[in-house]
Symmetry: C2
Subunit: 322 residues, 2 copies
């Protein structure tokens, strides 16, 4: 069994050594650029970890990890255009560094390359591409719902949870299930790995919402309160509307209807969230998903010590203090 750090090192070394074509350079340079910006490589590491439950040679699944990681970065690249985001991981985003047309086209080729990486596995290709295609469609649907919510006055909590499931969790779930498919795990195990990832992803996103509002800049790696500034209808916002009294809820809604928010409004929204004790509710909801994740991992039919790494990894992901 390899540790999380070992898996990460193996993947990153192979990624660094991987070369996209040289030409046309204006197509492939932005691809290498965005992949060079780093990140935790959480999806390929989970894929390798799931594979490693059953098999030793994790090198074998590098290309599958690349498919997931390149897809993930494609979605970041196109999302950054849509969000008009200037900075990604502390560096200039692709559409700013190059231009928007370049970002669209290089993103497109990344999405196609994700499928090229899967060609390594002809024996499992039907199963892999079915899962991969399904997941990719769901990620687009999640991104669309996220955009729709921006202009939608009323959003239900269930819809919000569905959105984060599609936008974030299914790709994490699919990474784990792909590891299972490639290791020839039973379909039961594949299902449990998928559900472990899906619930882990939702718990992680709820934690992310919490961190964005109540975390520290050091922990988050970016400014606190970004979601509020962007008037994001997160779980914190939606649940607060339920929990607050009529006047407070009306005030919260009124702030989110303002043209542009400043630091004073961010403080006021945080105070309203605290009044609602929504952070406690969010922590509880996170725990529900965390426990669901744990129970699915427990049901995977390999020995507990083999599963220790995935268990450690989920604890690590879900225990960034706020």
């Amino acid at each position: 069994m390899l540790t999380v750090d070992q898996l990460q090192t193996i993947f990153c070394e192979k990624l660094d050594a991987y070369k996209f074509p040289q030409n046309p350079s204006a197509l492939y340079q932005p691809v290498e650029y965005i992949l060079s910006l780093g990140g935790k490589r959480i999806r390929p590491v989970l894929l390798m970890a799931a594979y490693n439950l059953y098999k030793e040679e994790v090198d074998y699944v590098f290309e599958a990890g690349m498919a997931i990681e390149v897809f993930h970065n494609f979605s970041l690249l196109h999302d950054d255009i849509m969000d008009q985001a200037d900075i990604r991981r502390g560096q200039t985003t692709v559409h700013v560094k190059y231009d928007e047309n370049t970002a669209i086209l290089s993103g497109d080729v990344m999405l196609i390359y994700a499928y090229r990486f899967l060609e390594k596995y002809p024996e499992d290709l039907v199963e892999l591409t079915r899962l991969f295609t399904n997941t990719s469609i769901e990620v687009c649907e999640g991104q669309r719902l996220d955009m729709d919510f921006e202009t939608q006055e009323e959003v239900e909590i269930a819809s919000y949870l569905k959105m984060i499931e599609l936008k974030t969790s299914v790709a994490i779930a699919a990474s784990l299930a792909m590891g299972g498919i490639l290791a020839k795990a039973s379909s039961e195990d594949q299902k449990h790995l998928y559900e472990f990832g899906r619930n882990l992803g939702i718990a992680f996103q709820i934690q992310d919402d919490l961190l964005d509002t109540f975390g520290t800049e050091a922990l988050l790696g970016k400014k606190i309160g970004g979601d509020i500034l962007q008037k994001k209808k997160t779980y914190l916002y939606l649940k607060s509307l339920e929990l607050l009294n009529k006047e407070e809820a009306a005030r919260l809604k009124a702030i989110f209807r303002m043209e542009k928010l400043g630091p004073d409004e961010v403080q006021e929204v945080k105070k309203l969230y605290k009044t609602a004790h929504v952070d406690v509710h969010a922590q509880e909801l996170k725990l529900v998903y965390q426990q669901l994740a744990t129970s699915h991992l427990a049901a995977v039919s390999v020995s507990t010590d083999k599963k220790q790494m995935l268990s450690d990894l989920s604890v690590k992901l879900l225990n960034r203090n706020i």
Copy 2:
């Protein structure tokens, strides 16, 4: 054997009956919109025609035709954003009718859907996706070269031909080869079908360049001289630079360096092209590719009468008078 018109009718009826998901509607409505704008459906018709050389039940390859047609429309959709084009087939383009973010995301989901359509063929999936992925990457590379040429002072004729091959011909070639793969044609036949399509595509693009400058509006379905107005470095432009005397060539270059061209410059460029007799050269080059296409079709190991339809179709495509 079915006729071209019959194949087109079969495909269009099935396309009209096909339903994308209802939700999120802001994701899938633009997909249905662009597919409803029509077009000759040349790629799926070629795919069905190639299949029909060997097998009767052309309904079987509808989904493969959809993969190619949806991919083609994805590329039009994203190209229209990049070109800031307002009109496509006489209708508002997606990014104008909706907005740019919608066009990016709905284009992305179309590209993924192309792969979903291929799932119908598990037995041939390895071969189909390998060809499809390769082709899609080449189309992106062609689009990138096309963009690069805009700002590039010197473009070689060979590079231009490579660009149109990648941007246009390989998808036509792949459509024919996919028909062959699905019909279990020999790999020799698949190769000849591919080469038939590749050369046909190049000939077709050269004709398209000719029509854009020397055609009639009725024939072209849009304004004549668009390529000149956009200062496109087509074969006509590049070859004229070779054929004209020094002063004339310098004048042509000077016009293409102007900020914005008007009807007077279009007329002057057309006159320079005529002086160079570049239309004759282009016709000859088109004929070379047309003959190459014909020879590859001749080499396909089915009876001549079965191949009549593909032969008729290529004549029809390549004999729009200029």
